[in-house]
Amino acid sequence: MAGKIRIRAQQQGDYTEVKALMRHPMETGLRKDQAGEPIPAHFIEEVTVTHKGNVVMHAYWGAAVSANPFLGIQFEGGAPGDEVAVVWTDNKGETGEGTTKIR
C-alpha cells in the first residue's frame, strides 16, 4: 500500500514552507471492527523531509497521529525550483513517498 504523498513547497521570503498530506489509516491497534475483532495496529513510524537530499525534518510518530496525516514544516536555504521530498515508513515496513519542486 505504498502511498503517494501530496506535497506543496512554497518559498516565503527567507524560508520554505512545506505542507504534506499522506494517505494512511493510522490504526492504533486499540479499535475493534464490527465483528468485535481487534484491528491490528498500522501506523506511520518515521517521516523524513529532505531538501536536495539533505534532511530538513525527521520525525518519529506514534499511532495517535490522525489518519491521513498532515505535516507542515519550515526550513531555510531553499530556492524556487529545488526538489523537496517526503518519505515515510510504517510499522509493517511499508513506505510512501512524494516529491515536489519549491514554488
Binding site: L30, A64, V65, F70, L71, G72, Q74, G77
Partner: protein
C-alpha cells in the same frame, strides 16, 4: 581458560552489535545520527509522568514555546496542533515532542529539528478525551514545555 572463552564471546557480541549498528545507521543521513533512535519506550509509556521520565525528566514551563491547539475540538480524531518557538527566548531547539495527557500513550509524535530548519511543526493528532496537550522541546538535553487544554466533544478513538 574460562577467561578466554568469555572474552571471545564478548568480542563476538560486540562485533555483532557493531554490525547491527552499522547496518541500521548506514542508510541514515550523517547529520542526524546522534538523534536517530526511535524512543520506543517513550511511545509505549502510559501516563504523562512516565512519558516525561522516558524522555529525560519533567520539563520546565517556558513562554518561548507558542503552542496552538483548538480550545474545543468537535472531532477528537483530528485535532490540529502547531508548535512554534520564539527563537529569542529559546534558541537551539533540537527536538519537539507532542503529547496528549489522557491518551493511552501520551507521546504522539517526536520531531528532530536539524540546524537550518525552523523549530516549527504543524500536524494533527487524536485526542481521546478532554485533557491537556503538551508541547515539549529539548534544548541541549534540557526540557521545556507548554500546556494547553483541548475540550473534546467527540472522542478520538473512532467511537
Amino acid at each position: 581458560m574460562n577467561h578466554s572463552i568469555q572474552s571471545a564471546g564478548m568480542a563476538r557480541r560486540n562485533f555483532l552489535r557493531l554490525g547491527a549498528f552499522v547496518a541500521a545507521t548506514a542508510m541514515l543521513p550523517a547529520k542526524l545520527l546522534a538523534a536517530m533512535v526511535r524512543p520506543a519506550d517513550a511511545f509505549t509509556a502510559t501516563g504523562l509522568d512516565s512519558t516525561f521520565a522516558q524522555i529525560g525528566g519533567i520539563p520546565e514551563l517556558h513562554d518561548g514555546i507558542i503552542f496552538s491547539t483548538p480550545d474545543i475540538a468537535e472531532n477528537g480524531a483530528v485535532v490540529p496542533v502547531k508548535v512554534e518557538i520564539d527563537g529569542n527566548k529559546l534558541p537551539k531547539v533540537d527536538k519537539i515532542y507532542v503529547m496528549v495527557e489522557k491518551n493511552p500513550n501520551p507521546l504522539s509524535a517526536m520531531f528532530n529539528v536539524p540546524a537550518g530548519t525552523k523549530p516549527y511543526v504543524e500536524t494533527r493528532v487524536k485526542v481521546a478525551q478532554t485533557c491537556n496537550l503538551y508541547a515539549v522541546v529539548d534544548v541541549d538535553g534540557k526540557l521545556y514545555m507548554a500546556a494547553k487544554e483541548t475540550k473534546v466533544t467527540l472522542g478520538g478513538c473512532g467511537g
